[in-house]
Symmetry: C2
Subunit: 287 residues, 2 copies
């Protein structure tokens, strides 16, 4: 048998992975969730037909969205993770002893259950005593919060689907308010390569750079993401991602990583000219 | 009509591009060459079924393999390009007035003719007065050269196919001898992500690091390459790719780029932990 899963990065480019077996498939209240087993990427989960993460490359995403802000902010106690129902982000956060509270806001309860069943190496992160899961809409959850978090991680995907509310101007404003005076927000910034992704990438940077005094973008190579090239946003009230990077302090924690290093941290903010030009154009625009 | 070109990155992962039309197809003495037109990548050329370059992303590869060594070496006069029959590397080299001689060694005459016909924006580089094309085997060409070049660019692809000779220990030794006492060699290092690519990546670094006193690896995101993540080798007799980077001098040249910046140059050498670990293991091995 030949069974291939195809992820359309655009209408005219797709990445296909040979599948051993489909392990799960269900339309939830929020999205279509499928789980597959493959030789090349191990188990992977797709939502509405797109790969959300795979066993083989989730470490890149989860390490980059957690350790970059954690190596910058000197005293993170309270963290909010929006989305993140798979537990990978919570798992990486769990390595930091000084963190006291990790709130995970995930609207789709089925998503969490599926990850607990099929991805225990991610979902173990949700078993940490400091984690509370809120099965709520991220935007609504945020509206009630003020001056509460040191770090907000927007782990939600798909700015056009059921998570669209998490990519609005209101959302960035609410994050700003929910953060303490030296808080940091990191978020998925999408891929800048294909023409059809460029606009959402531009809009995100425009909103973040107009809502936060410091707004920078960093990159990683994630094979299952569109074009293999993924951007993250770093929006901050006080700390600069390079000037306030404390490499010595981070290394002393002895956290085992497979992608992140404090050296790579610096390099991740050094972007290609075509990405730099795009971001600068948005910074220059009027609000 | 739906016509899809599929590039197998491994036996179990493929990237497919929707094609408007096949423009050319021929088995030459050396390889199967095909040219296609697509909406997403523009025209692209495949050799033996794998995409060699596309109009949409060749700038990344050509800029990174040329400007990185050129921003380090202070006085490049003579350059040898092995492979490079498409002309993209010669085009980027052409921007440097101080270069006096560009020798392009390409065994496949048909490859050059096809590029001249279908990719004039690359092939224009071969029209530079300083360029001489030698339709020869790269390894044989090198055997006769000694202390002649400031820069050697190994633009050849596929360490397992008809270019296998360009990935042997003899080849690295011959490059060393053909270089002047402060010469630099850069080369395609492949992609480190998939298991089946890892070994050739290891072998290349082992050979280079045992042949040259300075041997470093740098990265770029190239969507049409395996996993979208490509490495380059920088092997050098004297100059270090970061310590001897002269950003001021390079910027004063005012070369228009879409990917390369001197900032990105620095970041390109800051590699993920899993790549660093792999390279260090090879450096530690006995010869």
């Amino acid at each position: 048998m030949e069974l291939w899963f195809s992820d359309y990065h655009t209408e005219k480019v797709k990445v296909s992975v040979k599948v051993q077996k489909q392990l799960f498939g269900l339309q939830t209240e929020f999205q279509r969730i499928d789980v597959f087993d493959s030789d090349e990427f191990g188990r992977f989960l797709s939502a509405d037909g797109s790969i959300v993460f795979s066993e083989k490359d989730e470490f890149i995403y989860d390490e980059m969205i957690v350790h970059v802000p954690m190596a910058v902010h000197p005293h993170v106690k309270n963290v909010l993770v929006i989305g993140g129902g798979d537990g990978g982000v919570a798992r990486e956060l769990g390595y930091y002893e000084e963190i006291e509270k990790i709130d995970v806001v995930e609207p789709d309860r089925v998503f969490v259950e599926v990850c607990k069943e099929f991805f225990p190496d991610n979902a173990c992160g949700l078993g940490d005593k400091r984690v509370s899961i809120y099965y709520e809409d991220g935007l609504k959850f945020l509206r009630l919060r003020q001056n509460e978090y040191d770090l907000i991680i927007n782990d939600a995907i798909d700015p056009l689907g059921h998570n669209a509310g998490l990519f609005t101007k209101e959302f960035y404003g609410n994050c700003y308010r929910a953060l303490k005076e030296d808080g940091i927000m990191v978020y998925q910034h999408g891929s800048p390569f294909y023409d059809e992704d460029e606009e959402s990438c531009r809009v995100m940077h425009r909103k973040a750079s107009h809502s936060f005094p410091i707004s920078r973008v960093y990159q990683a190579h994630i094979p299952t993401c569109s074009s293999g090239y993924w951007l993250f946003g770093f929006a901050s009230k006080k700390y600069h991602p390079l000037e306030h990077l404390d490499a010595k302090r981070w290394k002393e924690r002895h956290i085992k990583t497979w992608y992140y290093t404090t050296n790579l941290h610096k390099g991740a903010f050094m972007l290609p000219r075509y990405v730099e030009d795009m971001l600068e154009e948005e910074e220059d625009r009027k609000k």
